[in-house]
């Protein structure tokens, strides 16, 4: 009853011994996530929070059979860590790090084209599968097990909407924060494809925002889905040319506007919420609950 992360996933954490890495590793363990290894070059051989630390990802994978990674490595080393995971054959990599130089990500993106690794992020809150665990920094207590898939470009907005869903009795299959950077590994569309295939997901909520054309790409795909999708787009009042916090949230010329995204989604038959407060009812309506 999930995509990407399941209770059987064995997770390694790169940059685990840093302040952020350690804090969130504890939280992930508290959420029953199966954290099998940490990776920090120079700290190999230590055991921290009961987790063995290795110098390299390949070694960690060899010793622990880890099959997923969360990255907390600082910005200038994070793209290298993504490539290390890809080269070590880790099939799922979630990169939390914010502030990675965009040229590094362009390089990592090109590298990933030659490796069968799925990247979530960077600059994202990660993902959570309620009842099974989480990879990343999402506050786990807001979730509830259920059959709503959730995808968002932002962090705290995710928590807001998830809290609304949970309060409305709508539990979640998996919640994915895909990240707010201009170059991210996995966009809305592949997430929608995964939810469409997941037998335990009944409907999907996607929270887009200004900038880029990922929402439009998703809109082109949604009509082929059998499951209902409810959308929300933030940044309606954002002026063009200004970077709204997320490196990717910037309107260039006439492209990437909230209005354009809403129109594309509506043209694809997707109900678009005016405010996040309408989302739970729209989901219920779509599912006849």
């Amino acid at each position: 009853m999930s995509i990407l992360y399941h209770s059987s996933t064995k997770v390694l954490v790169t940059g685990m011994t840093g302040r952020e890495g350690l804090f969130h590793t504890k939280n992930m363990i508290a959420a029953n996530t199966n954290i099998v290894a940490g990776v920090t070059p120079g700290k190999g051989g230590q055991t921290i929070e009961g987790v063995p630390v290795f110098d390299t990802v390949r070694e960690a994978v060899a010793k622990t059979a880890a099959n997923a990674a969360v990255i907390f490595v600082p910005p200038l080393g994070a793209a290298d860590s993504i490539m290390e995971c890809a080269e070590a054959g880790v099939p799922l990599v979630v990169c939390i790090t914010e502030g990675i130089p965009v040229n590094d990500m362009a390089r990592a993106a090109a590298f990933l084209k030659e490796h069968p690794t799925t990247l979530i992020g960077p600059n994202c809150p990660g993902l959570a599968t309620p009842g099974q665990g989480k990879m990343g920094i999402m506050p786990y207590h807001i979730f509830k097990e259920g059959d709503i898939g959730f995808i968002s470009r932002s962090g705290t907005l995710t928590y807001e909407v998830v809290a609304l869903l949970t309060a409305a009795g709508l539990g979640q299959s998996t919640c994915v924060g895909i990240g707010g950077d201009p170059i991210i590994g996995t966009t809305f569309k592949p997430c929608l494809e995964m939810f469409e295939k997941d037998p335990h997901t009944a409907a999907v909520v996607m929270c887009g925002e200004i900038g880029g054309s990922d929402e439009e790409d998703a809109a082109a795909y949604i009509p082929t889905m059998t499951k209902p999708v409810i959308a929300f787009v933030s940044g309606r009042t954002a002026p063009p040319g200004k970077r709204m916090g997320h490196a990717g949230a910037i309107i260039s010329g006439n492209t990437g506007t909230a209005a354009g995204k809403v129109a594309a989604l509506q043209a694809a038959g997707v109900p678009v919420a005016e405010t996040i407060f309408e989302i739970p009812d729209m989901v219920k309506k779509a599912l006849n609950r």
Partner: protein, 378 residues
């Protein structure tokens, strides 16, 4: 990060791209001295972080050193789109035969820098892109190889440039792509790429944006940062580690997380208010940061009240509440503040606010409506 034309040209020069000599002047007298040194008619170009200088009168000519001084006098201090001209670039006047465009820009759709080339140079390339996109040749850079010289030449040939520009401009575009990567640029363009009467090809104007995220490994460029006068608060905020964007309204807005703050802006607008700014305090902020953010937002004289919207994950509600209370003494008296706290520490935070007699909202909508109402009651 924006940098000036003269700085962009300095980067190009380091990568072997021909640019005409030029020096920066901050006074008409300096401009005169530079013109005297060049011993040639000069161009005086305003160094400001906006396009459209020419139309605004920010580019002037001086055939003699005295004329150069007068031209600099006209340009220095000039207001261009809200920016005051503090520096001018003085360069010998060029006799340009043809003008072309070459540029590299990071493209999210292809997840790579895209090379752009057009024979229609010298004018606003976005206009060309909008009105005659077929005049722009594009090619994503293969991050494994960089832009090969032969690929650069091929693009110029495909854009219909004459043979001499294919050869010399090819070397320039190759170097520009190298400079883009080495300087951690998110945009690097030469417009116009000029074919001169003597058959030489050079960068007559240049624009480079540096990726903020890369500044830690570009220490020299980091020292080039200058406040943009149009929004000095944004510059200061960056230095303080806050993400702040100035807007036109009167409702100051603070939140944690870009998406949440954007949504809060939308909600305030929906509630009939006009957001004065975007301010994201990021994750895990302590009371001190919260206080700093409030005082920061209040410095905008347009701000009549402030909405704080925090969903606590790592950020704790009581820290936020403490920060708001700490700021009270230093905020303009009577300025309404509405806080909405959810998630971690929400109970403790709300209790602190209630004790201090401060307003809070049950959710984002409630809080938005409360701050808009409070301002309209002032």
């Amino acid at each position: 990060m924006k940098i000036h034309e003269y700085q962009a040209k300095e980067i190009l020069r380091r990568f072997g791209i021909p640019v005409q000599p030029g020096k920066v002047a901050a006074t008409p007298e300096e401009a005169e001295a530079i013109a005297r040194e060049f011993n040639a008619p000069v161009v005086i170009k305003a160094q400001v972080y906006v396009g459209g200088r020419g139309k605004a009168g920010g580019i002037q000519f001086g055939d003699t050193p005295e004329q150069a001084r007068d031209a600099a006098k006209r340009v220095l201090g000039m207001d261009i789109k809200g920016l005051t001209v503090n520096k001018v670039l003085v360069t010998p006047k060029l006799i340009i035969k043809e003008e072309y465009y070459v540029g590299v820009i990071m493209d999210r759709a292809t997840q790579a820098p895209v090379i752009m080339v057009s024979a229609a140079g010298g004018i606003d390339i976005e206009e060309v892109a909008a009105t005659s996109p077929e005049k722009i040749i594009k090619r994503p850079m293969d991050m494994r190889w960089g832009l090969l010289p032969e690929q650069a030449r091929q693009m110029l040939a495909d854009a219909g440039m004459p043979s001499v520009v294919v050869a010399k401009g090819g070397a320039i575009l190759t170097a520009l792509a190298k400079a883009f990567l080495a300087a951690d640029a998110s945009l690097a363009e030469i417009n116009p790429l000029a074919l001169m009467e003597d058959g030489s090809v050079m960068a007559a104007d240049a624009k480079i944006l540096i990726d903020d995220n890369a500044l830690p490994r570009q220490p020299e460029f980091a020292t080039w940062a200058e406040p943009e006068e149009a929004n000095p608060l944004e510059f200061e905020a960056k230095a303080e580690g806050l993400t702040y964007v100035k807007l036109d309204g009167d409702v100051g807005i603070i939140g944690n997380g870009a998406g949440l703050v954007m949504t809060t802006l939308d909600m305030v607008a929906r509630s009939g208010g006009k957001p004065a700014n975007f301010l994201d305090i990021g994750g895990g902020a302590k009371a001190e940061v919260m206080k700093k953010a409030l005082l920061f937002v209040a410095r905008d004289p347009q701000v009549k009240g402030i909405l704080v919207n925090i969903f606590g994950g790592i950020t704790r509600g009581e820290e936020v509440a403490k920060g708001i209370i700490m700021a009270q003494g230093e905020l303009p008296p009577g300025m309404p503040i509405v806080a909405r706290l959810s998630g971690t520490g929400e109970v403790e935070g709300r209790a602190l606010l209630a004790n201090a007699g401060l307003m809070w909202g049950t959710d984002m909508r409630d809080a938005s409506q409360k701050i808009v109402a409070a301002i309209s009651n002032l």
